[in-house]
């Protein structure tokens, strides 16, 4: 039984989230501004915090910073700010994930589950010789198994090879042609357009919201990469 702190100055959003999360079997604590959230986090055992950024008294960014002083509980920011800088700021200050408003409740639940799995995984999988990880993605090259937040996913051999290439060079951008040459072991003569399709499928399997990938990023006009340190 996990306890989730929901914090937003809009009470309707809080209660909607409450309904969804309760129906998923989580216990919830509600707060309506940053100060309340900080106080609630001090008095209760919290496993995850969902927090809005734009709030009176203490905004989400500052509340996050304050919470981070004494706890590493996962924090997911709910933001109506679609500016990239806000997201980056939120993540830098110590938030683990963010969801842009207006959000899809299913996405919220998926992200909550993902964060909880990562937070409660006891030390994670053993780091074997063939284990490559990036964020929630773990690839056991010996067993040819890929897990996201511990959940195994099914990949085709090509998808597996592409992911392996990207995972073993986190942060490096590979163009379609480079990926084609490395994975297919063939020179790319205009046939690399299939790579993009494979990666889209791969993204759909790994990412919670494929249109807004967190780990397998599309670098438009240049190629693809696995986010470094994700």
């Amino acid at each position: 039984m996990y306890t989730i702190l929901i914090c937003d100055d809009d009470r309707d959003i809080v209660s909607a989230l409450d309904i969804y999360l309760t129906s998923e079997g989580y216990q919830t604590i509600k707060a309506y501004d940053g100060r309340e959230a900080v106080r609630a986090a001090e008095t209760h055992e919290i496993h995850l915090i969902l927090m809005d950024i734009m709030m009176p008294e203490l905004d989400g960014i500052r509340a996050t910073a304050k919470l981070r002083e004494g706890s590493n509980v996962p924090i997911i920011l709910l933001t109506a700010k679609s500016e990239d800088t806000d997201k980056i700021l939120g993540l830098n200050i110590g938030a683990d994930d963010y969801i842009t408003k207006p959000f899809n409740p299913l996405e919220v639940i998926a992200r909550v589950k993902s964060q909880l799995r990562r937070y409660t995984a006891l030390g994670g999988a053993e780091k074997g010789p063939g284990l490559i990880t990036a964020g929630p993605i773990a690839m056991d090259d010996g067993a040819k198994v890929v897990t996201v937040d511990g959940e195994p996913i099914n990949l085709t051999p090509i998808e597996y090879n592409i992911l392996k290439l990207l995972l073993s060079h986190p942060g490096q951008v590979f163009s379609s042609a480079q990926i084609y040459e490395q994975v297919w072991n063939d020179p790319a003569y205009g046939s690399e357009n299939t790579v993009a399709v494979h990666i889209r499928h791969l993204r759909e399997k790994i990412e919670i919201n494929p249109a807004e990938p967190r780990y397998l990023k599309v670098v438009w006009g240049l190629g693809y990469k696995i986010e470094k340190g994700a």
Partner: protein, 688 residues
């Protein structure tokens, strides 16, 4: 100290001290001047006054000789028989006069010693020397005087103080020669040791001389001491001038309202006049002494005279002090220039000429300046053709012109540099206008003002941009928050059991519309951001082939669902452009999404990439499902869609966003409508 400066009693005292000291100094000064000769000369006989008295005696002797001669003539005429009462009376009168003169000139009555000799120094015709007394012994210095007694009564004379022979040529006139004049020589003088045994003017003179000689030091000391006192009083007056008890600033009086030069002229005139008067009075006293000394109340008159002269001196000193006082007040109040007529006139003239030249239009300045230069040069050449000085002046003129032009050129250079800096974007830059020619300075100041104004405008623009960005963020937040609730609760409704099938249908509509609202809100925010330029653009070298590849991968499935097939034409090799990949993706995303929404089913969508002339053109062509009854330009406006009905999904913002984003990246976005053929073209600069 301040209190003392403003003290009126101290001021009055200072004036009284000044006047009294000046008066006293005048008295001592006049006396010192009068007795000055007594200390410089070795003998009391070497004063002008002595000579004057000596000459008076000499004249008396001469007159007496003449009278004797006249008497002789009269007696001759009586002897010749011309005998009447008139002549006898004359003779009697002459005799009386001669007797009184001889009485006065006798050695018992005067220290004056004389000897009348014939021309050849042989015969002595008259003397008051004692028996066997030589002239040389008797007097300190022998003076000689030659004179003639002509027949017709006119006699010529000349001095010969030093006893040389008389020069007859000098005295000889035509008449005199004709008249055969009788030549006589008078030798005279006064003994040095004129003592009290004979109380004549020479004795008095000697006495005075001795008193003067004894007292001169006293007079001088008195003069210097009182002068120093007067000077101290003057310093006090100047120091306190303009200060008044209870007033912080310098107080000016009616005196300071008079033009200083006029005041000074009057005061200097008065002082000089009074000084002359003093000198005159002193002179009168000096000469008068020799006569008045014999008067009974000489002492009183002399003292009164000295006092009068001293009063004149004091008055002159007062005038000078008044002038210095007003000068001090004016300097303290810093209004000397303002209250001087000359300064005002000169200042006004200079200002007028300066202003006239300054505000003369530049063209006129140039024409007049050049004209003056040419005329002056011609004149110099004309005059200086054979004259070295004028040629030198000509060269100096040329040198001055060169310096002037250099000054201008340097000013222009600075102006140019400053303009360039400002034009280069440094709006904070201020051109240094020090030592710049007036016309250039005007230009520079205007430029500085423009740059200040521009910097302000840029600041204003930045502020407004920030404001816009903030507004968009806030509006988007305020729209998105309730929308979040709507979407969530619609979702919740959907998961509840609905007995009424109509309710299920209604919820479906709500769901659809809320999703559309969500899309619309997102597009709206994005459109505002793109068109206001709030978005940050990071341009880098990106591959168009790669991007098209990625985009098609995203859209292929959806297009296939709509029974649309995508035909992509790419040139050989990768095509590089300078663009922001995320924004360019959004452009392509919007264009393909448009195809998915509005293209006729079963047709082909063409995606062509072309290179040429440093530009890269990407075009998307499709056949519209509905007739496009709006011109291409209108399609790019916000909320305009190719069809009238608004039932289909889409905000009508896609093309507008695409255009704004393209333009943000320095590209151009064009639409063309040819019947049902819709063509969008994105042109971007090619990267090497």
């Amino acid at each position: 100290m301040k209190k003392l400066q403003g003290n009126i009693i101290a001021k009055v005292c200072a004036w009284i001290v000044l006047l009294a000291a000046a008066l006293g100094a005048g008295v001592f000064g006049v006396r010192a001047v009068l007795s000055f000769q007594s200390v410089t000369a070795d003998s009391w006989q070497s004063s002008g006054r002595f000579y004057s008295a000596l000459e008076d005696r000499r004249q008396e002797v001469c007159d007496n000789v003449y009278l004797i001669w006249e008497l002789k003539r009269v007696e001759n005429r009586i002897k010749a028989g011309t005998d009447d009462a008139m002549i006898r009376a004359d003779a009697e009168g002459f005799r009386e006069a001669i007797a009184s003169a001889e009485e006065r000139l006798s050695r018992e009555n005067t220290w004056f010693r004389f000897r009348v000799l014939s021309e050849d120094d042989e015969t002595v015709s008259g003397t008051n020397l004692g028996e066997g007394e030589s002239m040389l012994r008797a007097v300190k210095e022998i003076c000689r005087y030659s004179f003639e007694l002509p027949e017709n009564g006119v006699y010529y004379s000349y001095f010969d103080y030093h006893g040389s022979n008389p020069n007859p040529e000098l005295a000889a006139g035509e008449d005199a020669e004709a008249a055969q004049p009788l030549r006589l020589v008078l030798e005279y003088g006064v003994p040095e040791e004129a003592d009290g045994s004979i109380q004549d003017e020479f004795y008095q003179m000697k006495q005075l001389w001795e008193i003067d000689r004894a007292n001169f030091d006293e007079y001088l000391t008195g003069f210097l001491n009182l002068g120093a006192l007067a000077l101290l009083a003057l310093i006090w007056i100047l120091w306190t001038a303009g200060h008044k008890a209870g007033e912080e600033s310098i107080v000016t009086t009616w005196q300071e309202r008079i033009f200083f030069d006029l005041y000074a002229a009057v005061m200097i005139f008065a002082a000089v006049w009074l000084a002359f008067c003093t000198v005159w009075a002193a002179e009168q006293l000096y000469w008068g002494q020799s006569y008045a000394v014999r008067a009974e109340n000489f002492e009183l008159f002399f003292n009164l005279g000295v006092m009068g002269a001293a009063a004149l001196f004091a008055a002159g000193a007062a005038c000078g002090t008044l002038l210095l006082r007003t000068l001090a007040v004016r300097i303290k109040a810093r209004c000397l220039g303002k209250t001087t007529l000359l300064c005002r006139v000169v200042g006004w003239t200079v200002r007028t000429v300066h202003d006239f030249v300054r505000f003369l239009p530049f063209t006129w300045k140039l024409v007049l300046g050049f004209g003056a230069y040419v005329i002056f040069t011609f004149w110099l050449i004309q005059v200086g053709r054979y004259d070295g000085i004028f040629m030198l002046m000509y060269f100096c003129l040329q040198l001055a012109l060169l310096l002037f032009l250099s000054w201008w050129a340097y000013g222009y250079h600075r102006l140019r540099k400053g303009t360039k800096t400002i034009a280069g974007g440094d709006l904070e830059y201020q051109i240094d206008t020090k030592h710049m020619p007036y016309d250039l300075r005007l230009q520079a100041e205007d430029l500085n003002n423009i740059s200040v104004g521009l910097a302000g405008a840029v600041d204003e623009k930045m502020k407004s941009e920030r404001f816009k960005a903030e507004l968009i963020t806030n509006v988007s937040h305020d729209l998105k928050t309730p929308l979040t609730s709507i979407i969530n609760y619609v979702n919740l409704l959907k998961s509840t059991e609905q007995s009424d099938p109509k309710a299920v249908e209604y919820i479906e509509v709500l769901d659809r519309k809320s999703q559309r609202l969500k899309k619309l809100t997102e597009d709206l925010v994005e459109a505002s951001k793109a068109s206001t330029g709030v978005l940050s653009v990071v341009r880098e070298k990106i591959g168009m082939g790669q991007l098209i590849d990625q985009a098609t991968a995203e859209w292929e499935e959806k297009l296939t669902d709509k029974k649309l097939s995508l035909v992509t034409t790419l040139p050989e090799g990768e095509t590089w452009v300078y663009a922001d990949g995320r924004h360019l993706w959004r452009v392509l995303d919007n264009l393909l999404s448009n195809c998915a929404k509005y293209a006729m089913e079963g047709t082909r969508v063409y995606l062509d990439l072309e290179r040429g002339k440093g530009q890269v053109a990407l075009s998307v062509k499709n056949i519209s499902r509905e007739p496009l009854n709006v011109p291409a330009e209108r399609l790019m406006e916000r909320f305009v869609r190719g069809e009238e009905s608004r039932s289909t999904e889409g905000s009508g913002l896609g093309l507008s966003i695409a255009r704004s984003l393209t333009e943000l990246q320095g590209g151009s976005f064009d639409l063309a409508v040819d019947g049902d053929l819709f063509k969008a073209m994105v042109t971007l600069p090619q990267a090497n």
